[in-house]
């Protein structure tokens, strides 16, 4: 395992991404809500740039207690979306939200002073 430089932490605004070529791999590093997340940038569907699309909250269906439909609303989970076809991944886990058995490989992110590294 080696550490690959990503950026200065001061360069990251909330929601910023960096795509790191670490050897043969492409890794997407996402800074959101004060945390860094790093996942393989290859979508499990057809190999698209999974970490380079929108960050968007999940959509939930709101039902009444009697199970009648009310409306759709944005929830509090953040997803990142592959821009090729719209496969959505849970930012916290890297799971494909349509099939949680499928999961992007996650990488560790470390900070050394102001420098951010990804371990791969």
């Amino acid at each position: 395992m080696a550490e690959f430089f990503v950026a200065k932490s001061s360069d990251f605004q909330d929601g910023d991404r960096r795509i790191v070529t670490a050897g043969q791999r492409e890794i997407g590093v996402i800074y959101k809500g004060g945390h860094y997340y790093a996942y393989s940038n290859t979508c499990l569907h057809q190999g698209g740039p999974a970490c380079e699309g929108l960050l968007i909250n999940n959509v939930v269906e709101v039902l009444n207690p009697d199970r009648t439909y009310v409306h759709h609303a944005f929830g509090d989970k953040v997803h990142f979306v592959c821009p090729w076809h719209g496969w959505e991944y849970d930012l916290e886990t890297g799971e494909c939200v349509g099939d949680r058995k499928q999961k992007l490989r996650r990488f560790e992110v470390v900070k050394r002073g102001d420098d951010v590294y990804v371990v791969a």
Partner: protein
């Protein structure tokens, strides 16, 4: 010792470049050596509405031409449209971002845009279809469909196909006006890059109507392809029960082709036009497998309903052609293998991307299938299409 490569780039949304957007596709193309063999995309698209200012000038009727030009830029007017969010509320970024694109230099922006994605994916030839005009079949005024079809076909032939040999098309047939459909075949059948004619499927004209027989005969005689390109019509009585785009799209793209295929077969059109090459586009694959079994089962009890048939419906269906996209990907690949076997994929299946639409497929959807040998892969990816369209089988693409 070499240090591992460490490069960092930001993700930017203020610019858009197709070669960058599809860089992972190019990587797939390089790794799989696509440069060594022919890849033909039998179903791809452009956004002809971005060129309506040019297309409208080709409308023959001065009255309709004025109506079209005057309504340009308004949300309602000369042409119909459909509700539906192809871009997934902006999750598919290329739909909007394409406006920022600066394609390679070419005779027309559409040519540059098309060649950019073709090379990025590893495609040698692409059969180009319109996008909003897929819904023109539902226009309430048949003469508007006929006028727009003629204008678009002339524009496409003169501005696109005449200048780029790697782009071909099956031209729009104004099927709601059988006479206009016949005239379309007569006028354009010999034009450069015209490899066939395309019927957009969401419509209510029956394919077995006698009014179409001379059109089929003309296409058969020319040796061109007649294709049925699926789409949805959310206003259809059955689909109007659906409240989500996913439902209207998933059902609509199968439904109309299932109806047309059923009528095509039970009315014995394969017996009447035995040399006519018929292709079914963008319904995926499982519908044909299912329909073959359904029709065979009923046919054996009701042969008197379709006396022209000398064989089971499935046997005729296995002689037709199918495009791959949107290819179903079951977890159990043996189901997929059975589907391929049922439609004789080695000789009857043709790869299609549907790019740049939201559910496009890459060549790797075929190339990576474990149950296909190299010959079958190459047939599906381009060999069969080259024969069908009379294309030079030598690869011409330049993968970045």
């Amino acid at each position: 010792m070499d240090m591992p490569r460490n490069e960092v780039r930001p993700v930017e949304f203020g610019t858009f470049s197709t070669p960058k957007h599809l860089e992972h596709a190019s990587e797939q193309a390089r790794r799989r050596n696509y440069q060594d063999f022919l890849i033909v995309d039998v179903d791809s698209h452009h956004y002809e509405n971005e060129s309506y200012a040019e297309v409208f000038e080709y409308i023959e009727s001065p009255v309709m031409r004025r109506d079209a030009i005057e309504s340009a830029g308004r949300s309602t007017g000369f042409l119909n449209t459909q509700v539906g969010g192809q871009s997934l509320s902006g999750r598919i970024i290329r739909n909007k971002a394409r406006r920022l694109e600066k394609p390679r230099a070419a005779k027309h922006r559409d040519i540059g845009m098309t060649l950019d994605w073709m090379d990025a994916m590893g495609v040698d030839y692409a059969c180009l279809f319109p996008t909003p005009m897929l819904f023109l079949s539902a226009h309430p005024v048949p003469e508007v469909e006929a006028a727009m079809a003629q204008a678009y076909n002339r524009w496409l032939c003169e501005r696109i196909l005449a200048h780029e040999p790697r782009i071909v098309s099956m031209l729009y047939l104004p099927f709601n006006d059988p006479d206009a459909a016949y005239r379309t075949v007569q006028e354009f059948g010999g034009r450069r890059g015209v490899v066939g004619f395309m019927v957009t499927s969401p419509r209510y004209k029956s394919v077995h109507d006698n009014a179409f027989m001379r059109t089929y005969a003309a296409i058969e005689e020319m040796g061109k392809v007649l294709s049925f390109h699926a789409a949805y019509n959310w206003d259809d009585r059955a689909l109007a029960m659906c409240n989500r785009f996913i439902a209207a799209h998933a059902l609509g793209f199968m439904w109309f082709n299932m109806v047309h295929m059923t009528n095509w077969v039970v009315n014995g059109l394969p017996e009447r036009f035995p040399k006519l090459k018929v292709m079914w586009i963008e319904s995926g694959l499982t519908w044909a497998y299912s329909l073959m079994q359904r029709l065979d089962h009923s046919f054996l009890m009701r042969t008197s309903d379709c006396p022209s048939l000398k064989r089971k419906p499935s046997e005729y269906m296995r002689e037709m052609y199918y495009s791959t996209q949107p290819m179903e990907m079951p977890d159990d690949k043996s189901l997929m293998e059975a589907t391929f076997k049922q439609i004789k994929a080695d000789t009857q299946l043709l790869w299609s991307s549907d790019y740049p639409h939201w559910d496009f497929d890459l060549p790797s959807t075929i190339y990576d299938l474990p149950f296909l040998d190299e010959k079958a892969k190459r047939n599906i990816l381009g060999g069969t299409a080259a024969k069908l369209f009379n294309l030079d089988p030598r690869p011409v693409k330049r993968i970045p």
